[in-house]
Symmetry: C2
């Protein structure tokens, strides 16, 4: 019967069996020490020099007696730091080859390609594990926040029949001889579900065939999406996004203190209400503050994003800021034009620490208006059949928002590259392993 | 300020605003009744005959006073059955066109193609909603069961670089000019993660290009996968699967009583321990019971599955039964051969109500053995680089299991067709809408 390593301090004086990986080996003449690691923690095992013949990362079953350590040997860094095991028997369950790099240093001092080429090894490093602990908490708390508000979780489809808004950045799937595509967003599905379920959310893969390699883009992303109906105004959607983001950050702070400490990271400072500003007002502020005239741009540049965050921090003590009311024609056909200034819409972004964290907005719910927009945006109505169907039979006022799990994880932990925040990052040059170079074709 | 319909009984004597869909309209001379539906429930609204000019499924905002009903008009079928609203004002938020079929009958009496062609409408039917409530509970309780046992949730990739076991039934994705594929299973990823995280699970889309149209197959499926390391024997994996399935069924029973009742369905009867039998023993039993000789078959036929369930029910009072030890060569390369009878492996299926519910097994963890199997199964090691890498650096004894969310939902509710258990079912002939016929090509 196996004992979890974290439970060994409650077994002092008893002989127990532990299982795990050899985390380190230290030989001192006739005596050898090894730390054994399982999912719950690490324990120091003491034995004779035969112990030193193990390899690091061997998988072993170790039988021995749990003894209290002398107080002067307490190790406060280990949850088992007040005990150790005197080994009586070791069975090797799997032998490890020599490591290509040392995974037992406080930092993994390897380049990103080496880290990814050896993904199964880098996963074992505490700082890498910490990234995915944080990501799991982000996703779980997103789910928990929305369930508490009556949102139903749904599974959005990945294979879609058409790409209504043009398909330059979409992957094609051969579907029994038919041309289909991988979904870039659950947007249309989550909206049509509102017509029946009122409030829905999803945690789903989305796929973006952007032909660029940057520190912030992946081709396969975990998208956290929510959509709600019977809203009063766009601010109800923004307030829900605010609630969710604040809940997620609070949960990360509460549940991932050790992980944040490993990265010397803190969650963003946010006041009771996250400030909110219209794009044109923000652009005027930026002009006044910097002399840079961006007042006719349809969106922020990276410099603008950084500047508005500076302003938000100075004026409101907030590292996050909402920006709303983008030019109507610059956003998708379904975005709701503002009633008073219809050349601007009721879409919004959440900007944090100089980059976009989340995007959302109110959507058009009136059938005639959506049909007009479909026409103005040059979209073939047949390509969004199912979506339009929902509008014919009573679609309530609605809106929603979305953010990427990897992007948030990256921002919270201040990672240099989004690939670190994906277990199996895919980009133009890598699908698990690096893709072979292919000759450049001129495409359009 | 909107009041949720379910909360209206706490507002007797007050004037409140509700929002929702017009569920029904009944005119009686000068008086008209309409039931308004939101996500929380349905409320009877009483007004003058103008109310009758609404369409069913219009979306409305209704303002009025909540009054107690006379006891003889209590409606025990509605959570608001002891109150009603005397309307003072109605604002139409969205107008509905006439329905192509009546969605307000106890059963949706339409064919499956009509139901799916009008998916955004069929979603509104209580029995359709009930299916997805059950599915949400299945998925949530799977997650809850495993989190309680220290499993980490991970997001498995969908785009994969190669198909090690042959690719007849796999979708191809054009990836920037490279040939990639859609994942048929998170199997290899969940196993390799065990080498670092010990216990993992995932809720992920898998894709199967099976060129057949049956009542039990979809091309896009929500797969519930778990994998665990440092196991003692294959029975530890089977016991974990048993715990998870029993937990899931208990949760469905507890949280979905109303939904089960709608379908006149009951969760399977299961004793303290689900019986478990080896394939060859089961085949011998079937021969003895029926005279049908299947004793050299490598798997069950549908008749065999039904017969072993009959036996399990008669002998153990269990509608579920584990079958294990399939011929080694009939299962994937990673399945662990039994130590005593290596021509049979330590894989298992869970059979329930005559069909397969879940599949699992112990996997090979020794590097040399897995390399031998890779060779014997004719697999190119380069196609599973990342997977094999994990075995070189200490892979513990491991195993796991998987089941489909739609399949379980279908079985629990006794649905006739798995398409009913998918929000947006995809098959050879449909991706949202029916695909156009294409000329038959002779393929291999």
């Amino acid at each position: 019967m196996r004992t979890l390593i974290a439970d060994t301090p409650t077994h002092i004086g008893e002989t127990v069996t532990i299982k795990g990986w050899v985390n380190s080996i230290r030989a001192h003449g006739q005596i050898a020490f090894t730390d054994i690691r399982d999912r719950s923690g690490t324990l120091q095992v003491v034995g004779d020099k035969k112990l030193a013949s193990l390899n690091v990362e061997d998988v072993v079953e170790v039988i021995g007696q749990i003894n209290a350590r002398d107080e002067k040997y307490f190790n406060p860094k280990m949850i088992t730091g007040k005990v150790e095991m005197a080994v009586t028997d070791v069975n090797i369950l799997a032998v490890s080859q020599d490591m290509p790099f040392d995974i037992h240093q406080p930092d993994l001092n390897v380049t990103l390609p080496v880290l990814l080429d050896n993904r199964t090894l880098s996963f074992r490093h505490p700082k890498v594990k910490a990234i995915f602990k944080v990501q799991e908490v982000v996703i779980d708390s997103f789910r928990q926040a929305l369930k508490a508000k009556d949102f139903m979780e749904f599974q959005s489809p990945s294979i879609i029949p058409s790409v209504p808004e043009g398909g330059a950045e979409v992957f094609k799937v051969d579907y029994f001889g038919h041309q289909t595509f991988l979904s870039q967003s659950p947007q249309l599905y989550k909206s049509l579900l509102v017509s029946a379920f009122e409030r829905v959310f999803s945690v789903n893969k989305i796929f973006r065939a952007e032909p660029s390699v940057t520190t912030r883009h992946l081709t396969e992303v975990v998208s956290l999406d929510a959509e709600m109906g019977l809203i009063e105004s766009w601010t109800e959607v923004r307030d829900m996004a605010e609630y969710v983001i604040k809940f997620v950050l609070d949960q990360v702070k509460e549940k991932c203190a050790a992980e944040l400490a490993l990265f010397n990271a803190t969650i963003p400072t946010v006041p009771e209400n996250i400030p909110s500003i219209k794009l044109r007002d923000a652009q005027q502020l930026i002009f006044e503050r910097t002399g840079r005239d961006c007042q006719n741009e349809k969106d922020f540049s990276p410099d603008d994003e950084r500047e508005i965050c500076k302003w938000s921090m100075e004026k409101y003590g907030s590292e996050l800021v909402f920006v709303s009311h983008f030019p109507t024609k610059s956003r998708p056909f379904y975005t709701y034009p503002d009633d008073e200034t219809p050349e601007f819409n009721q879409g919004f972004d959440l900007i944090g620490r100089g980059v976009e964290w989340l995007t959302g907005g109110r959507r058009i719910n009136d059938y005639q208006t959506i049909m007009d927009h479909v026409k103005q945006w040059g979209i073939d109505p047949a390509s969004i059949d199912l979506y339009l169907q929902a509008f014919r039979y009573g679609m309530p006022p609605l809106g929603g928002f979305a953010f990427g799990a990897e992007r948030i994880t990256m921002q919270v932990l201040n990672l240099a590259n989004i690939r670190e925040a994906s277990l199996f990052p895919r980009d133009m040059e890598r699908v698990d392993k690096r893709l072979p170079k292919i000759e450049k074709k001129v495409k359009k």
